[in-house]
């Protein structure tokens, strides 16, 4: 079509674009609303919690949900609602920190391997293969067991097992674009290889990575919860959903379902939110989705 007749859609504002993405897909909208809720809880949780999440009260242990304690109390008489709310911050911190770490490290390694190829690529691929050859959860267990179960180590372990996914993804994305016209054009414009890689090629790998990020955020929480379940999680009395479920699990059979159910629901909801967030996030960072 010629210039004169070309329909000229006005460029949408970023906010307008986000608005569109949200309206377009009801599931994404719900996911973003839940995400907002999680963020609010993470920031203001301690203020919103009705009780001190750590205060025990042996005389009111294992009470079912009531007006005083909406989610009931646990075996030490602590308010489960408060603990669930306060745990949000820690769980989000673990997953965000772990994902951020693996995102950064994986991006750098993957981009370098994908762009320069050769023995760097071969070496890195073998290393990643080696990591992937472990059942990842078991590897995380091993790392935490070896380094000690602190929050930092859980974050590191989670980051390490997530790393191959990012590195591979970025490697593939960079690899298909390293000879793309726009990369060559950027070189002609006087960009060094490193700049071309960092400023031109890598940002184009972001949309698929956003999906990975959101999946991994959920996965990181599950991972931490799993570690807690086998006793390698964060330390008590810290409120953390995984530990709460793991501890509550023992009470289900005796009928005290609320001890595990509510933190479990919070866990499921958070992971669910992150998993659903992916497509929406991708659409937001992808300029091609703008019309």
């Amino acid at each position: 079509m010629s210039d004169a007749t070309a329909p000229a859609p006005a460029r949408q504002s970023t906010l307008g674009h986000i608005g569109y993405v949200l309206r377009d897909n009801p599931v994404t909208l719900v996911a973003f609303l839940m995400f907002a809720l999680l963020i609010v809880l993470a920031f203001f949780g301690p203020m919103l919690a009705p009780y001190d999440p750590l205060a025990s009260n042996a005389s009111r242990a294992l009470e079912p949900p009531s007006w005083d304690h909406w989610f009931g109390t646990d075996n030490l008489g602590r308010d489960i609602l408060s603990r669930v709310i306060v745990a949000t911050r820690l769980d989000l911190t673990i997953s965000v920190a772990a994902v951020a770490l693996s995102f950064i490290a994986g991006s750098v390694l993957g981009a370098v391997a994908g762009y320069w190829g050769g023995w760097v690529d071969a070496g890195l691929s073998r290393c990643l293969d080696t990591i992937m050859a472990f059942p990842l959860f078991v590897l995380a267990m091993g790392i935490v067991a070896a380094m000690g179960n602190t929050v930092e180590n859980i974050v590191y372990a989670t980051a390490i097992i997530n790393l191959p996914f990012y590195a591979r993804l970025v490697r593939a994305e960079v690899n298909i674009r390293r000879n793309a016209g726009f990369a060559l054009a950027a070189k002609l414009s006087g960009n060094s290889d490193a700049r071309v890689l960092a400023l031109h090629i890598f940002p184009n790998a972001l949309p698929p990575m956003m999906v990975q990020v959101s999946l991994n955020l959920g996965w990181a929480i599950l991972n931490a919860a799993g570690l807690s379940f086998i006793g390698l999680g964060v330390r008590p009395p810290t409120a953390e959903w995984g530990i709460m479920v793991a501890e509550g699990a023992n009470f289900i059979v005796s009928g005290e379902w609320w001890v595990a159910l509510f933190p479990g629901m919070a866990l499921v909801l958070a992971v669910f939110t992150f998993n659903l967030l992916g497509d929406g996030l991708r659409d937001m960072v992808d300029p091609r989705r703008r019309t």
């Binding site: 079509m1 460029r11 726009f182 002609l188 414009s189 290889d193």
Partner: protein, 543 residues
């Protein structure tokens, strides 16, 4: 035989319904070949899909009648439609390789169709399929039967697609751009085959193309489409020699042909006098014995085997040849994106080949050699706005302040004729011609002395191609640049270039002035290339 009345097709999209086809009338007589021409997006493909009711999800026929041999195709039940497809009406598509199931043997794909329409049983299928393959002149059909699409050349794949379409002896064949993506010589072979088969079997056909020359050569009648409407129908020769509609005229004008000048491609209304450029005898670039050997998976690939040519200051040299002959590899080396295996690239007296490609980004001579890429879409960063893309070399090479950059970008936009309000758009929001302009603006932003154009118009419609070619000619005259123009289209090369270099299999087979090479090719390969290009009838300059 087929008549279409007031057909309207609507797509549901993000921004509301799009009327892709807005009430067209067509009819095809028995034994007749109808050509549908028009530029990209004019609704040619949608029309053909509508005929077979295989529109994409979201598309629907809003109004109109499609009657084929007395059957109302618009309202026929799906079951009946499925029987008609392939047996009564069949279709071949552009890009033959992707039109075939990549993981199924081609013979089986033909069998699937044969058996679907009860033309063969399990026992006879193989023989029938081989027969169908032989009908499209596939040599060694029995052997090719077991081949997968990736094992066949493009031309061979297209023959398979044709065999698939003709396997059940349909009475109407629809060919949607059957030769795009094929080599110029293969293109001719395929078109000759199709028209021969149509004639032999007495079928009717609809040939869809954006190449007027091709349509004129192979069709009895032509319908010209624009923006979802048919603006003109008539006998091929009439449409070409005496176009009635202004749009048709513009299209005919823009089609490169013998004896045209570069300005004559433009619509008469906007034609300005051609600016002259005078090449100086000083050599600017001298390429000597350039060799490039790639380390391929199965041994070395000799992509370029010792190429030498010279470009003078202010001159345009055309580099022509079939796909895969080493044109792009040569230009990549000259523009210093690729290191040659051996040879010299003397530019303004210095050997550029001495500086490795890796380090050339920071070389002071970087700004003096630039390039416009074949695929405008691919060459623009999808995340950068047009402005940002044009700005990039200014920022990196010219090191201008941000104010000066903005001014310069606007100046460049005006120079290449890109409306300023398009500057903050992303590539996917621009049309092909607009993207090409962005690419050109970027390449000339730092005033290079030498510009390599790697098939800059290959992905464009003829009318946009005409505009871009004229733009390039004007820039050359205004800025005194030298061009190396890479192309496989001899007509285009002749329009723009002073001299032509013809390549084949990594070697230069012929070089000389454009006139000489076109009129009196000395190498048989050149002659073959020239013969393969479609030759539209010459238009009466009356109008």
């Amino acid at each position: 035989m087929l008549s279409v009345k007031d057909l309207k097709v609507v797509f549901r999209t993000r921004r509301g319904p799009v009327e892709a086809v807005r009430g067209i009338d067509l009819h095809v007589e028995a034994g007749e070949t109808l050509g549908i021409v028009g530029e990209s997006g004019s609704g040619k493909s949608v029309t053909s899909y509508a005929l077979l009711r295989i529109l994409d999800a979201g598309g629907s026929i809003r109004a109109g009648d499609i009657v084929y041999g007395g059957i109302d195709l618009r309202h026929a039940p799906e079951r009946q439609m499925a029987d008609i497809r392939g047996r009564e009406i069949s279709m071949i598509f552009q890009n033959p390789r992707s039109a075939l199931n990549p993981i199924r043997k081609v013979g089986h794909q033909i069998e699937d169709v044969l058996r679907r329409h009860n033309r063969a049983t399990r026992g006879t299928a193989r023989a029938k399929a081989i027969e169908a393959m032989e009908a499209v002149k596939i040599r060694d059909a029995a052997k090719r039967y077991d081949a997968y699409p990736f094992e066949l050349s493009g031309g061979m794949c297209q023959r398979i697609v044709i065999a698939l379409a003709l396997a059940c002896d349909p009475r109407l064949l629809i060919a949607d751009e059957p030769t795009t993506g094929l080599d110029i010589t293969t293109q001719k072979a395929v078109m000759d085959l199709v028209s021969q088969l149509i004639r032999e079997r007495g079928m009717s056909a609809i040939v869809i193309t954006h190449d007027l020359g091709l349509a004129a050569q192979y069709c009895d009648r032509i319908a010209v489409m624009k923006d979802g409407e048919v603006v003109e129908t008539g006998r091929s020769v009439d449409v070409f020699t005496a176009p009635r509609h202004a749009y048709t005229r513009r299209l005919v004008d823009a089609t490169p042909r013998d004896g045209a000048s570069i300005r004559s491609l433009l619509p008469a209304e906007v034609r300005t006098p051609e600016l002259t450029h005078t090449p100086s005898p000083e050599p600017l670039l001298r390429v000597q014995d350039l060799v490039k050997t790639f380390e391929g998976k199965s041994g070395p690939v000799h992509a370029v085997k010792g190429v030498s040519f010279t470009v003078h200051d202010g001159e345009t040299v055309g580099l022509v040849g079939e796909s895969g002959c080493g044109k792009s590899t040569t230009s990549s080396m000259v523009v210093r994106l690729l290191d040659p295996t051996s040879g010299h690239i003397m530019f303004a007296g210095e050997d550029l080949a001495k500086t490795p490609a890796k380090a050339f980004a920071r070389d002071p001579r970087r700004a003096s050699i630039q390039m416009v890429f074949q695929d405008a879409t691919d060459s623009l960063n999808p995340r950068h706005s047009a402005e940002r893309s044009i700005e990039e070399p200014l920022r990196r090479l010219a090191k201008l302040s941000s104010r000066a950059r903005i001014d310069r970008v606007r100046e460049l936009a005006d120079l290449v004729g890109l409306p300023r309000h398009l500057l903050d758009r992303f590539p996917h929001q621009l049309s092909g011609g607009q993207k090409a302009r962005v690419g050109i603006a970027r390449a000339i932003a730092v005033n290079p002395r030498f510009l390599i154009l790697d098939e800059p118009t290959a992905a464009l419609d003829v009318s946009i191609q005409a505009v871009v070619l004229n733009l390039l000619a004007d820039l050359r005259a205004k800025l005194g640049m030298s061009y190396l123009f890479v192309s496989h289209d001899l007509h285009v090369v002749r329009l723009l270039c002073d001299r032509v270099v013809v390549m084949r299999d990594g070697e230069v087979v012929e070089a000389g002035t454009a006139e000489e090479v076109m009129e009196h090719p000395s190498h048989p390969y050149t002659a073959e290339l020239i013969a393969a290009a479609p030759r539209p009838p010459v238009r009466h300059q009356a109008a």
